[in-house]
Subunit: 613 residues, 2 copies
């Protein structure tokens, strides 16, 4: 019941309960299928992000799609190798926050945590807008209503998460396999064609090529690289979930990580080869993936299958944030960086808090972006890269501290990854600063500051509470119970019985005002009291101003001051009708008195509810 939870007291939701046997855990293949959803979903917007940047340099720029994608695939290889090492070093799971906490100190871990929070939020917005873009590519008539569609999908996902879903990574295997399978078919068929089968989807849409084409320079290529790196989001998911794998855990998780990297790399390169081969140009209102499906498979049922599979996968990808963010918030709350209410899972309240907060912020982002994925992708990439960089730097520290066999090579690999992702973070932030990146630049430090402020406040409270020290033994004081009354009924009798059981001494108090009607009421009460003779004195508190709480609080203060070693308790008795609407009939006297006593005194407040049928 105390405000402070000294020890962590809950199993993380992403760990299986201990009584679950090994056979419920994931093999490498199942783990790959179940945990790669986010990474696969990013294929739907990553290549598009590259093409859109290069379109600024016209058809000439678009020719650089494949080289840029190859660079990204190289980074992917480095990241996968790097995360293989993270899996070996942190077999209990834990993403950049855990790595940074162990190796880089509190503040850096908070930077990682803040970037994760932003990622979770932006992932929802990006996935929802990209999913709706897949839908409106198939049904252009819906394009003008895309913001409303985005909000509708968000409401649906939120509602599902508020209801509480049975969380099971296995549920994600089928849609992931369907999506990856269709993309592979798309690529394979496309490689056998020399020209698009159909351009029906893109026909009639405005080209997104720049009117005044710029020349292809280093900056443009860096920007394209940075934007395209959004395709790498989700690569860290397997490293976070090592405990879900079947023994030998590390080996299986590493294999799944490599499989994820390989499949993702093949998909990215395959799609960009097709983009170059078909000389695709970005157009407004149709995704690049939809154009590719059209060009490769024709404008037929296969096209619609791919659009629907994409949309469903992206909706599920948005859903993973709703599972992940509350867990992160709980970890932060446990470390005293967030209010403890986020760590409290009793009666499912933590879920509700986290889910609703996430939905509200995501809705704001959806409206801010006008339902446009490409406004949000750069913001998303910043947070992801900050997280990657922090994790890699932490790994360098890890290897340096461990100095095991070949530590220099491992540290070099992670250090190389850190430099690449760090540069990418700086490039995206600088190139997109005015288009929204400023939001991240402001929010990230503010989040870190908020975490630290909360932490200091908890430390202060913990010290005042003598946390970790054995407190003084309890003792017994004389107890005076004060019962406010205004009339004589069965409720009064119940209240005095309860008070007599709790106190060494009981005093009834009544407040009266200097007007004739009120004085008459008081005299009637005093006469009835004398006749009843309950053995409890009735104290009369006169008050000039028509206020109920203050005179009682003043009396309580007075008793506390003049009678030392006395514990004063105020017992407030109230009728509680069983029918809900009848509760409107209660006057708010009890609440008014409780509020005043709580505000002005240190007395214990007892509330007795007298149930009326």
């Amino acid at each position: 019941m105390t405000v402070l939870t000294v020890q962590p007291d809950e199993t993380p939701a992403d760990e299986e309960p201990p009584d679950t046997g090994e056979r419920h855990r994931l093999t490498a293949l199942a783990g790959f299928a179940a945990l790669s959803l986010d990474a696969m979903a990013s294929v739907a917007y990553g290549p598009e992000a590259i093409v859109l940047v290069l379109a600024a340099a016209d058809a000439h720029g678009l020719g650089f799609t494949l080289p840029v994608t190859l660079a990204i695939a190289a980074l992917l290889a480095v990241l996968v190798a790097s995360y293989r090492q993270v899996i070996a070093a942190f077999p209990d799971g834990g993403g950049s926050y855990a790595v940074a906490k162990t190796h880089l100190g509190a503040r850096t871990s908070l930077v990682a945590a803040a970037s994760l929070v932003l990622d979770y939020v932006l992932n929802v917005a990006v996935a929802v807008t990209a999913g709706v873009a897949a839908l409106t590519s198939a049904f252009p008539g819906l394009y003008d209503d895309r913001v409303w569609l985005c909000l509708a999908v968000l409401v649906l996902v939120t509602a599902v998460n508020l209801r509480g879903i049975v969380e099971s990574a296995r549920a994600f295997i089928v849609p992931t396999v369907v999506f990856v399978g269709s993309i592979f078919v798309l690529i394979a068929v496309g490689l056998f064609r020399s020209a698009p089968v159909s351009t029906a989807t893109a026909d009639g849409h405005a080209s997104a090529l720049a009117d005044n084409a710029t020349s292809v320079g280093t900056l443009l290529l860096l920007k394209a690289f940075a934007s395209g790196c959004s395709a790498l989001t989700g690569v860290e998911a397997i490293a976070n979930a090592v405990p879900s794998f079947r023994a030998p855990r590390v080996k299986r998780a590493q294999r799944a990580e490599v499989a994820l990297g390989a499949v993702l790399g093949v998909m990215l390169i395959g799609l960009s080869v097709l983009i170059s081969r078909f000389h695709l140009e970005p157009v407004q209102g149709v995704t690049v993936l939809a154009q590719l499906a059209d060009a490769s498979l024709g404008h037929n049922w296969a096209f619609y299958v791919i659009q629907f599979a994409t949309m469903i996968l992206l909706a599920l990808s948005a859903n993973t944030s709703f599972g992940g963010l509350p867990v992160l918030l709980k970890l932060l709350a446990r470390d005293n960086y967030l209010p403890h209410v986020f760590a409290l899972k009793a009666d499912r309240q933590v879920h509700r808090h986290g889910v609703l907060a996430l939905a509200a912020v995501s809705a704001a982002l959806l409206v801010f972006s006008g339902g446009d994925t490409n406004t949000l992708v750069p913001l998303f990439a910043i947070g992801v890269f900050v997280g990657f960089t922090v994790a890699q730097v932490g790994m360098v520290r890890h290897w340096r501290g461990e100095r095991g066999t070949g530590w220099r090579g491992k540290a070099l690999l992670n250090g190389f990854g850190a430099v690449l992702t760090g540069v990418a973070a700086v490039v995206v932030t600088a190139s997109k600063f005015e288009e929204g990146a400023w939001l991240i630049v402001i929010t990230l430090p503010l989040l870190v500051l908020a975490f630290e402020t909360v932490h200091r406040a908890y430390a202060h409270i913990g010290e005042r509470l003598g946390l970790g020290r054995i407190p003084d033994p309890p003792h017994r004081d004389r107890s005076v119970v004060i019962v406010p009354v205004s009339s004589l009924t069965r409720l009064t009798s119940e209240a005095l019985t309860a008070a007599a059981s709790l106190g060494d001494e009981v005093r009834a108090v009544t407040v009266c005002y200097p007007d004739p009607e009120d004085r008459a009421h008081l005299h009637a009460l005093e006469r009835a009291w004398a006749e009843w003779n309950p053995g409890v004195p009735l104290v009369r508190l006169t008050c000039e101003r028509r206020t109920l709480g203050r005179p009682i609080a003043a009396y309580v203060r007075d008793v506390s001051a003049t009678e030392p070693d006395t514990r004063v308790t105020v017992l407030i008795a109230e009728v509680e009708p069983v029918r809900l609407w009848q509760r409107l009939l209660q006057n708010q006297r009890g609440a008014v008195v409780a509020h005043a006593v709580r505000r002005d005194t240190d007395a214990v407040i007892c509330r007795l509810r007298f149930r009326l049928i």
Copy 2:
């Protein structure tokens, strides 16, 4: 502290406190000026209502303006004579609700009360729209924004009333005198003219004459009469405020009532003579009063003075509802017809409830009517006439019961008034049923039903509480205090000290769940407890589901069931940081436990707040 207030406990706000001397009270003239504001304000929309109905029969119909007004003036004479008798019979004040309660039984008095509630609400809407119409007549550019202007005026009046104003009838004397003075000048000057000086205001506005003129029939005249009767609202104000007059009260109040009737009658007849003489036709967007000012005084500063005086008087008239409705609600709450919270004036809460409710309903009416006075006037008239009728019928009963000298004549006068106003009520309701009167026909009985339901519920509660009987004497039970704990800090020590002072026996309880982390936490707590040795047992409640409140509530029920004659109290100790934002840091465990215990058991709940600086 009890829910029921047996005796009324407050002075009505409309009575002066007893220590105020006679010299602060009103003479007949001051009383007339101070209390006639509402009646005078209705001159701004009454004649217009007549003209608008008659316009359905074209210029021929408008010729009946004067005869209809004379009929209304006759009704006014009957009403004034009738209210002179009410003043004599009810020198303590009290409108139709008081008269009906004394002479016609509970249900009829509730009909009167419901019609008064509707009147207060509609008065706000009518006065605000009419005030804005006066403004937009002077500044036609504002006409399209009239709904927004209405809402702005409403916000202003509401804000003033939320701040709390020094209520003084005297503050209304100056604006009333200015308005009445200007109208008299308008009439006097107009009578010396044979044709309008100016028609500048009405020029260019669309005529409101009907395209297909109907012939003048009895029904049309009745409708015109009924609509015009809205000019009679406010006639009852003096009868409600007899205690505010200087002795001899009844005589002075009667004189003020007669003066009000005479002045109002002269104004109505004078204005309708001018309407006939100048052959005024109603036009859209300009009030009849504005046209008359134009025609009589010219389109100069005098015209603007009249428009501003009208607007200010109407805003003040809206303001009187904000003073009156809360008082009526308080009277109803005292008689157990409304939740007692409306009778509670502690810390000014009644004001706020009443004012905000009135503002919200008025705003809805303003939007519903589109800011048009003439949509609202018929609705207003229904409630007013129902109230008049009930009061007169009550007076007939009064004279029959008293049988004093000349009682037959008095009863006949009141009976005649009742028939006239009753017929008017039926005519307005029937003729305006589809245009909004159905709203009143539905709302009025619903309000009465709600009053009666509340009354029955209070009677039931009062009976269950043994109201008016001397209750059983209180006794003393053995007291067990249960203290939920989750860690060992100074707060735990404070909680056990408080519990030891309150109980014969104290038991600490802690809830644990079957997962390893939690079990480790429990063992640590149990070891520390044994070491601390506070002389209080620590009961372990194991629970499969991760819920905090239920196991504690179940334990409380268990103790209550197995240990008879024991009073179980649950003491919840919580940290309360002094800084407000830090209260966000509290987990909600205390609230969760209190909620579950309150819902599932009859235990007394004690909350100890441990203040942290």
